[in-house]
């Protein structure tokens, strides 16, 4: 049994790592439950993130609110298609992709699927790596709101969606972290040992 924090091996009877004092757990059998719990929480938080406004722009007395998707469309209208693509990718494609990917991984482990172990493992690594980048939009809102504060001339303020979206990203990150990748490979042995 390997310590998941520092990698040192121990006999199965130990409860704490002799090197880094982390609690030892051979397999996290509750992993799928945790993954689903965080994932659904993230999904629930993602809905208001898209429905409510992300940015509130006041220009010369006129206030406009834009949601995530609305902001992307605005950018396209203004001609910055590249930036629109980045924002769309980070705030829509990546989160939705994460939801689908994590759901797929969790289902495949619960069904004890033997197929595509390497691909699923790669998928897991990609999901873990890419997950944090969804926070781009939250930071964009933060910077814009801080920069553009010129009273009546022009001012930008964050909407409630920024908070909701950040929560959603945090939850999906936690969901990906709770996934025990070793469960993908374990199916190999369980089936083989029969």
């Amino acid at each position: 049994m390997a310590c998941s924090r520092c990698g040192r091996l121990h006999p199965i009877t130990e409860s704490y790592c002799t090197r880094c004092s982390a609690p030892l757990e051979s397999r996290d059998f509750e992993s799928p439950q945790k993954v689903w719990a965080w994932l659904i929480a993230g999904l629930v938080a993602y809905v208001p993130a898209n429905l409510y406004p992300m940015l509130r722009t006041s220009q010369l007395g006129k206030t406009t609110e834009s949601t995530i998707v609305g902001g992307v469309i605005d950018l396209i209208h203004h001609g910055s298609v590249g930036i629109a693509a980045i924002v769309f990718f980070a705030s829509v494609v990546i989160p939705v992709g994460k939801f689908l990917a994590i759901a797929y991984l969790a289902i495949s482990v619960q069904r004890k699927s033997l197929l595509n172990q390497h691909q699923r493992h790669k998928l897991y690594e990609v999901v873990e790596f890419v997950g944090r980048w969804s926070m781009i939009d939250v930071f964009v809102v933060a910077i814009l709101s801080a920069l553009v504060q010129f009273d009546t001339l022009a001012s930008i303020n964050p909407g409630i969606a920024a908070f909701s979206f950040a929560i959603s990203v945090v939850f999906t990150m936690l969901s990906a972290q709770s996934f025990d990748a070793r469960l993908i490979w374990d199916v190999d042995r369980t089936n083989h040992a029969k």
Partner: protein, 248 residues
């Protein structure tokens, strides 16, 4: 330091090694592990090499033998292909110097003005921490703290932990008392230090505003960019396995 040469059955199989010991002459159908015994569990010697000589892949739990790596090479897991260890003589010193540089840059980045905006005579200059305080009504205060954490405090904490853990090692002295906890903390914080994502977000925001007004970039921005580059480089250089071994 160490390398991965051959494959053994999964780390978790040790329990099965003990269970099978009670039955006579059980041999497992795959891998080199064979058990043949008719004596009690207590007297049985497992045919696995001593645990200290083994390494388990952190992602698929396959056991490998640990041996010395030639300089500059990497060891990959035989089953799932991720990098388990690398060997680089000056790695610790490089990582430490990068971490110290990054720390200093971060302190500079939050002290100096970050960006300045000029619109029709109005001038607004912000620092990184000011960018965070926009979320300051009601529930959004939580978000402000979280964002400040992600881009400033957690990266600082992570860098400090790495410096604390690796410092004495580079000078050849034994590690400090809670160096292991410090390094574990640094590992834990890795996905939550979002400094580089912040920079990309700032770039996106700048392009959004560039049409509106005149934007000038303060020194903190360049400090932050350098910080991000150094952090990425440092993360590439760290070999976790070697550090844990050295911390022992």
């Amino acid at each position: 330091m160490t390398s991965i040469l051959t494959e053994s059955p999964s780390a978790d199989r040790q329990d099965s090694a003990w269970q099978f010991a009670k039955s006579p002459c059980i041999s497992e159908s795959d891998g080199p592990l064979r058990l043949c015994c008719d004596i009690e569990v207590k007297a049985l010697k497992p045919s696995l090499p001593p645990l200290a000589d083994l390494v388990a892949c952190p992602q698929c739990d396959t056991l490998h033998h640990a041996a010395r790596l030639p300089e500059g090479s990497r060891a990959y897991c035989k089953r799932c292909g991720i990098v388990i260890a690398t060997e680089r003589a000056t790695a610790f010193a490089q990582v430490l110097s990068l971490a110290i540089t990054a720390f200093i840059l971060m302190v500079a980045a939050i002290s100096f003005p970050f960006l300045e905006l000029d619109v029709a005579g109005h001038h607004n200059s912000i620092s990184v921490l000011q960018a965070v305080t926009v979320f300051n009504d009601g529930i959004a205060l939580l978000l402000a703290i979280a964002v400040a954490g992600f881009i400033v405090f957690l990266p600082l904490l992570r860098l400090a932990s790495i410096i604390y853990a690796l410092g004495p090692l580079v000078r050849g002295k034994p590690a400090r008392r809670s160096a292991k906890e410090a390094f574990a903390l640094a590992e834990f914080l890795q996905p939550w230090s979002m400094a580089e994502i912040f920079i990309v977000g700032v770039a996106v925001a700048l392009i959004k505003v560039a049409g509106l007004a005149q934007v000038s970039i303060g020194p903190a921005f360049w400090a932050f960019c350098a910080l991000v580059l150094i952090t990425v480089l440092k993360d590439q250089l760290i070999c976790r396995y070697s550090v844990w071994q050295a911390l022992d």
